[in-house]
Amino acid sequence: SAVISQKPSRDICQRGTSLTIQCQVDSQVTMMFWYRQQPGQSLTLIATANQGSEATYESGFVIDKFPISRPNLTFSTLTVSNMSPEDSSIYLCSVEGAGGYYNEQFFGPGTRLTVL
């Protein structure tokens, strides 16, 4: 599998501010994804981050609120903009096609965000 790290692991932020979450993989991967897990709920896909092109967002998620960068094959960032308490969630990145596993998706440890 892949070793995936996320920074920060957790943060407490004020309403109206923005937070950028970093995701680093120890090998080059084509596909990276960002998910949100609201308290007590399952995971929902925010967007697919493709290197060299714009991210593809799922219904209900927009680029102005969740801008994503993918500058190379091992790194991506997700920004949560103009935060409100409803954005309090765990944000997770995942990768596909790492370590010789073609279809398996492996997840980072997550970033626990609390918005006051």
């Binding site: 599998s1 084509t30 596909m31 994804f33 897990q37 709920q41 399952s42 995971l43 929902t44 896909l45 697919t48 799922e58 765990i90 997770l92 995942s94 596909e96 096609g97 073609y102 279809n103 398996e104 998706q105 492996f106 997840f107 980072g108 440890p109 997550g110 626990r112």
Partner: protein
């Protein structure tokens, strides 16, 4: 709409017993993956089963897939207290690579020592 539904929502068993969790989905899939999550941390990948497979084993885990019924089950044998966690199924459909996962609601498993 959410693809997967899991049952039970919560399961409490004694150490040494077997635990079975079920997952149902609505559309055709390329594969189905099971994950474990401890206390709101990151997800640990357990096993992937492809749409043309019916059963897979990995250690104490056994996964079945019935595409005609659009359902899957995860069996954990000889459970341990350390197996206490939330278990999620996730389906991949569409392109064969770069598949977006749709997660079920999860089953909270508690294994009592």
């Amino acid at each position: 709409s959410q693809q997967g539904e899991e049952d039970p929502q919560a399961l409490s068993i004694q150490e040494g017993e077997n635990a079975t969790m079920n997952c149902s989905y609505k559309t055709s899939i390329n594969n189905l993956q099971w994950y474990r999550q401890n206390s709101g941390r990151g997800l640990v990948h357990l096993i992937l089963i492809r749409s043309n497979e019916r059963e897979k084993h990995s250690g104490r885990l056994r996964v079945t897939l019935d595409t005609s019924k659009k359902s899957s089950s995860l069996l954990i044998t000889a459970s341990r207290a350390a197996d206490t966690a939330s278990y999620f199924c996730a389906t991949a459909s569409g392109e064969t690579s770069g598949s977006r996962l749709t997660f079920g609601e999860g089953t909270q498993l508690t294994v009592n020592p």
